[in-house]
Amino acid sequence: MKSATTEELAKKIRIHAVNMVNKGGSSHIGSILSIVDILAVLYGDVMNYKVENLKWKDRDRFILSKGHAGVGVYAVLAECGFFDIRDLDKHYQNGSVFSGHVSHKGVPGVEFSTGSLGHGLPVSSGIALAAKINNQEYKTYVLLSDGELNEGSNWESLLFSSHHGLNKLIAIIDRNRLQSMKPTEETLSLEPLVNKLEAFGWHVVEVDGHDHGELNSALLLNTDKPLMIVANTVKGKGVSFMENKIEWHYKTPKGKYFKQAIQDIIGKT
């Protein structure tokens, strides 16, 4: 990692994200900013990987199930040395492999392509199952959105993963409480979420999804069950006028909004 701290890394990811979305004219900046701290702690501190050996068999695996926040993954990978930071300028450009939803083809470090919701958890459980069968020690991290939990395939996988005791599978829910059109609780209520997840046989911990210390401790927990981290987050975190605003699921920051967004991020330490 080139950044001295995960806080510093997070700030860089946020700046890249706003720049990329602005230049590409793309969407989902609110969803991206929501998970930046999680990505920074994962790649800056928690996960084992070797940028010079992408297929190192003992590396920890990471899958972004909420593929629409792929910009965050591209940015963290570039900052951690998986590819040239200048490649981030290609996001959303004609002929580019840096698509709006995260894609592995041509992007070093991306383990799996997603974009349609409800795919990441079952695939991650397959990867974790392979580790168990092969007696390998790597961990499989998968990051989901809360709105994504509307998809039934996740609940199939929640049953499966606990039934098979996949205790090296760590799922993180980006609990920002906003989905595509309205708050999660007004769309298809998830609460009491922690109780539901526990009832499905997972070890569940709840953390502040922007507190790097809490994230770090939770992500490194060892349990005898699959681990679910409900990360309470703020959609649009770090940009004052985007925080908790659904419209930034879609809008592209342009002009004064772009300048203000960068200012907000730079101003934060």
């Binding site: 795919h119 079952p122 459980s125 397959g126 199952l129 392979a130 199939e156 996988s157 499966f160």
Partner: protein, 310 residues
């Protein structure tokens, strides 16, 4: 066909611990010995096809060679997006086996009639699509899919061509299996319904009309050469499939003809005419009801001959 399947998988699993067999809670009476012998290579994921394809993809990402099993439309249409995004796009060695192709489960009703799977699976880039007609083709295609890279789809059937007519030669993906030779017409069929083509060829032979019967067991990649050969060297082609006519075998054969700028003198597609069956019956009854049996094949050739006086 299921016995040929499990016997082949059993042999392969014994030699390769990376082979895994997943089922979505189907295969009662078929998989027990496999599970007992290779407990670490077998998994009943429960009634959850979307999860099954996701898990299979995750395992295949870690270099497992995965076969997944269910019946009818469950392992295909139910989880089509997982097949497309997770397995196909990532070029993973995931092989989907659907037992009960076409009207195999005719009496169980529309939900269990698999009559669009061939068209739909064929449209997935990178997929290999196979529907064997004989037990030999089942065994050979399982072996071939095990070695093949990328997504495989294997449609098994309750019916099959009588083993007396089996061709035991080399099987390879993308090659038609010639079950019978004749110079007059070519009957190109796929899956268990190939038995109707054999039956029709036997009947026509009694009238002095000799047909080649091709089991086009690999629908994708399709054997272009044998189709072009049939166009050029016989008087016409009849395609037979227990599948919707839209996008299936007949469509694939006609694409090959037109792409090669060849028009057969006679071309007839036999299959489901873009409809669902709301009636039930056994496989033979439903074939007859929907005009997909040997009689339909014979009638269409007789009609062509009487019009053209050949």
């Amino acid at each position: 066909m299921r016995e040929a399947l499990i016997n082949t998988l059993f042999k392969l699993a014994g030699n390769d611990t990376e082979l895994m067999l997943l089922t979505a809670d189907l295969g009662y009476g078929v998989f027990e010995e496999f599970e007992e012998t290779y407990p670490n290579q077998y998994l009943n994921v429960g009634v959850s096809e979307q999860n099954m394809i996701g898990v299979a993809s995750g395992l295949a990402l870690e270099k497992k060679k995965v076969f997944v099993y269910s019946i009818g439309n469950f392992p295909t249409l139910r989880c089509l997006e997982q097949i497309r995004n997770d397995a196909c796009y990532h070029e993973l060695n995931v092989n989907i086996i659907a037992s009960g192709g076409g009207f195999s489960y005719g009496g169980l009703g529309m939900s269990h009639h698999a009559t669009e799977d061939l068209s739909i699976m064929r449209s997935l880039p990178g997929a290999t699509v196979i529907a064997p007609a004989t037990e030999y083709e089942v065994r050979a295609s399982v072996m071939a899919l095990y070695q093949n890279k990328g997504l495989g789809y294997l449609r098994l059937d309750k019916s099959k061509v009588d083993t007396a007519n089996e061709y035991m030669g080399d099987f390879s993906i993308g090659k038609a299996n010639k079950l019978r030779s004749g110079n007059d017409f070519t009957l190109i069929a796929i899956g268990g319904i190939t038995e109707e083509a054999i039956k029709a060829a036997d009947e026509l032979s009694k009238k002095g009309i000799e047909c080649t019967v091709l089991s086009m067991c690999t629908l994708k990649p399709i054997d272009k050469e044998s189709i072009v050969d049939a166009c050029l060297n016989t008087k016409g082609i009849v395609t037979i499939e227990e599948n919707n006519l839209m996008g299936g075998l007949g469509s694939a054969v006609s694409e090959v003809c037109l792409d090669n700028n060849i028009r057969p003198n006679f071309f007839k597609r036999i299959g489901m005419k873009d409809e669902y069956s709301s009636i039930v019956g056994d496989q033979l009854f439903l074939r007859s009801f929907y005009g997909m049996d040997s009689k339909t094949i014979i009638k269409s050739i007789d009609k062509f001959i009487s019009r053209n006086l050949i």
